[in-house]
Symmetry: C2
């Protein structure tokens, strides 16, 4: 049987119940670790599920920040240094990734606390997460204030992509399931995936068919 | 072995290859059907994978629109009427959902073409997708222009939530996997999910443990 909840009921809910519910409604989410370092060398690592593709040319990626800790260090470092990394999460590290959401003091590095290893390469300023199989180096481009609820969207340009061999298809599709990337829903639910199919490009009057990925070696 | 692609290689890629690659980088995405109707009664249905939770109080949800067809009808109807629906996609309808991305003429309803059924209820202006197990009625609140690549973010307030019984936990978590919601990656890859765990609220110096959902009946 179908159930129904209307706006007045949502608004009247106990705060944490409403947060769980509304967070679930957006569907499955991208979940990644964002790595930053300030100019004194203090590293920060935070988990974010508000990452969004917004364009391929230039290659842009967006993150929405709430105006609250613990995300403040990440945002501060991005604005101060201009660089950050987005690191996909896999089954081996999701508990450590979740732990980075705890409200640690700014002087504490979530790398140290969780045991995840920071990794610098290609002269990129921000630290990558070594245990992450897909790592993206991003340069800050624009900050957009979402005044309706005091959140901030940060848009960055993708400068570097690291990924495991045999996961990139010849047509450009990067098989993130094959790379063991996981997804999340709500505030705290983590999920592996099982591919149903890739589907052919949709055109009027043409049947959709499953397509196979032909991977580069 | 780890592979590496830098910005200059991304920029030099053939367009469609770049679109596939960059779309994959954002991780698993929410994928839903947005239903609208204009003031003449012409219905429109489109698939979107750029849906983002941005806040619970007020309950807000965002969608990013590219400045191109076939999404134009959806955006036009939202701005004209102020109302739209977001309908989660499940394994039974994902091929039909994907087909709505074809560039049909504005006079053609994607409901008619795909066989998905429109459904009106609770005096809400826009049509829901009957085959969708989680349906959300949304009222337009704000349009934000993302000038860096000429996209538009539309923010709406959640007015109605429809969901299957036994899927809502007592703490507010809506189990979208139990409701058969699927996820997507890249442009064309659809995935079922398999929950690893829900994890306890992260606090410094406290171990993360798995938590069980206690569902309302």
């Amino acid at each position: 049987m179908q159930k129904h909840i209307s706006l007045d009921v949502i608004v009247a809910m106990e705060k944490q119940e409403r947060v769980h519910l509304v967070n679930s409604l957006g569907g499955f989410k991208s979940v990644s670790l964002i790595g930053t370092v300030d100019h004194l060398g203090n590293e920060n690592l935070g988990i974010f599920s508000s990452i969004l593709h917004i364009g391929a040319n230039p290659p842009l990626i967006a993150v929405v920040f709430r105006p609250s800790p613990p995300e403040r260090d990440t945002l501060k470092n991005i604005l101060e240094t201009g660089f950050y990394t987005i690191n996909h999460i896999n089954e081996n590290i999701y508990k450590q990734a979740h732990q980075t959401a705890a409200r640690y003091d700014s002087s504490i590095s979530e790398f140290d606390v969780t045991g995840l290893k920071s990794e610098y390469k290609n002269d990129f300023f921000a630290p990558f997460v070594q245990e992450s199989s897909i790592q993206i180096g991003v340069q800050f481009k624009e900050k957009i204030n979402i005044t309706i609820n005091d959140t901030v969207m940060v848009i960055g340009e993708i400068n570097h992509i690291y990924y495991p061999e045999n996961c990139l298809a010849k047509d450009g599709f990067l098989d993130i399931e094959k790379a063991n990337t996981i997804t999340c829903s709500g505030l705290d639910s983590y999920h592996k995936t099982l591919q149903l199919n890739r589907l052919s490009y949709a055109k009027p009057n043409r049947e959709i068919v499953a397509i196979a990925s032909d991977y580069k070696v």
